[in-house]
């Protein structure tokens, strides 16, 4: 569904991605794992066109998207739940959900405001609250709901459970399980290797801006040396 080939991305004169390549298969959960500052968010930003890559190819459903503006990438069917959630603090929860709503989805059961509320009942009573009045967990649910309202074909979650209380994390993982069951293609970034191993179909470990290992969760689970070397656990 999504392919990155030898992607190189820079911040000014500083190179952040050094020939990043990965492949995301439809209907699967793929993860991007690595320590802080290794280029996970830069990879996401390059896919989204927020920090466009300087060379290499990014193709989505067979079409090149590496020189698309972020809005075109989103309209093509990629939904982003960004690091730090980035809820609009001056908009109500309802408005946050409606900003990117795609009413023209070809899907038989498109994500609508009501469906998102059913999926995240905690947002029901908060619809008229402003974005900055929500707890961290509610904000993360809102960020996921906001991305789902685009009716994306690929959902990218950058630091899906970072900074959340354990109980809320469990809830978010449960939601992600449900999304996986529904057939959603997901690119997932998180630090909880145990949960990632449970939910993922395929892993990519990235170090200093490129993939240093990729493989199946069962392989990573049993490879202590790999985990120690690249993830420090």
């Amino acid at each position: 569904m999504l392919d990155l080939k030898r992607v190189k991305t820079f911040y000014g004169s500083i190179q952040a991605l050094f020939g990043m390549s990965l492949h995301i298969e439809q209907g699967k959960v793929t993860t991007l794992i690595g320590r802080n500052g290794m280029g996970k968010t830069t990879t996401v930003n390059s896919i989204m066109g927020i920090t466009p890559c300087r060379s290499g190819e990014i193709t989505f459903l067979g079409n090149r998207i590496d020189h698309h503006a972020p809005y075109q990438v989103a309209q093509n069917g990629i939904g982003l739940v960004p690091e730090g959630r980035q809820i609009f603090p001056n908009l109500s929860v309802r408005e946050n959900l409606l900003v990117g709503a795609n009413h023209f989805s070809a899907s038989k059961s498109p994500w609508t405001l009501n469906r998102v509320i059913d999926f995240f009942p905690a947002l029901q009573d908060r619809l008229n609250n402003m974005g900055n009045q929500l707890s961290g967990g509610e904000q993360q649910m809102l960020a996921i709901g906001r991305a789902l309202m685009l009716n994306p074909m690929l959902l990218i979650l950058d630091e899906a459970t970072e900074g959340l209380a354990p109980l809320i994390r469990r809830e978010i993982w449960h939601c992600l399980d449900e999304l996986k069951k529904s057939g959603m293609t997901i690119l997932l970034i998180d630090k909880n290797i145990e949960e990632l191993n449970r939910i993922a179909d395929y892993h990519y470990i990235i170090e200093k801006g490129k993939v240093v290992w990729d493989g199946f969760p069962t392989t990573l689970k049993d490879n202590a040396e790999l985990k120690q070397k690249y993830l420090g656990i």
């Binding site: 809005y71 982003l80 609009f88 408005e95 409606l98 685009l150």
Partner: protein, 308 residues
């Protein structure tokens, strides 16, 4: 105390404040959402006045002229955004200031070529040229029209920003432009629309004031400085802030010029008061800005989520 004079000055202050709002609301949206400093926003004020004047000179009624000139201003705003402004969004503020200062010179030169160096008087229809009696007080009808027009546009803008989908996206853009784009919103189209609406409102202010002052080259250059003060005092990107700051500054400026010397005479000699008052009254709004910035560096009503 002459209460009649005070009420007249309050109305003048309100009128000036509402004109400022028409300029500042567009300016604050353009500055807040696009991070773009547009010094030439005052040129739209001038062009609006000339558009309206030209149509009136062809024998159309003032209201018809305003309607056509509004459409013309939207087109001019969209063209300036498309041809010039969008190339400058990524430039730093100093480059934007220099480039848009250049635009002021270009617009002044174009107006000079088309309409000549002399100003253009815009006659009012007879029914707007009279006075309205409020008890013992006589107020010029047209001043009430300006106040009503300003309040009407403020109301429409408020509904647009708080109740419409476009307004929702504009507010989202004022707090996090990148995220709006990542949600599939065509930011170029949004910028074009916001810029054109801003130009239209600035032009509308010029159309409203021209029958009193006449349309003239450079007429927007003084008021734009005050409009920037409004934007800073109200909070960059905040239409609500622009509204309250406009009224506040309109009243302070007008009342300061009328009453500051009387006030200063209470504690200094007549000579000193009459010398110092005009200079000080011209500075009042800048003193207000300094005080607001000292206590609320982000202005009186910053949009939620704007980081310090």
């Amino acid at each position: 105390m002459d209460w009649g004079l005070l009420l007249t000055q309050l109305m003048n202050g309100l009128q000036f404040g509402l004109l400022l709002f028409l300029l500042a609301s567009g300016l604050t949206l353009i500055f807040g959402i696009m991070d773009f400093i547009n010094l030439s926003h005052g040129s739209f004020y001038m062009i609006g006045a000339y558009f309206c004047g030209s149509i009136v000179a062809r024998g159309e009624s003032f209201f018809i002229a305003v309607l056509f000139a509004l459409v013309g201003m939207f087109v001019v705003g969209a063209l300036v955004e498309w041809i010039v402004a969008r190339r400058l969004y990524r430039a730093d503020h100093l480059d934007q200031v220099l480039a848009t200062f250049g635009l002021i010179l270009i617009f002044d030169a174009i107006v000079h070529i088309i309409w000549g160096p002399a100003g253009m008087a815009i006659p009012l229809p007879e029914f707007l040229d009279g006075q309205v009696s409020l008890g013992t007080l006589e107020l010029p009808t047209y001043r009430l029209v300006i106040i009503s027009g300003g309040l009407l546009v403020a109301g429409i803008l408020s509904v647009l920003v708080t109740r419409s989908r476009l307004g929702m996206i504009i507010r989202a853009g004022a707090s996090n432009q990148t995220m709006v784009e990542a949600l599939g919103v065509n930011i170029h189209k949004l910028f074009l629309i916001v810029f054109a609406i801003g130009a239209t409102m600035s032009g509308f202010a010029g159309m409203l004031i021209a029958p009193i002052t006449e349309a003239s080259i450079g007429m927007g250059n003084d008021i734009i400085i005050i409009a920037f003060v409004v934007v800073i005092v109200g909070g960059i990107g905040s239409v609500k802030g622009a509204f309250y700051a406009s009224i506040l500054i309109g009243l302070i400026d007008t009342l300061g010029r009328s009453y500051l010397d009387d006030l200063m005479k209470l504690f200094m000699s007549l000579d000193h008061a009459e010398t110092a008052a005009p200079a000080l009254s011209a500075m009042l709004i800048y003193i207000l800005m300094a005080i607001v910035l000292a206590f609320k560096p982000q202005g009186l009503f910053p949009p939620a989520g704007i980081r310090p």
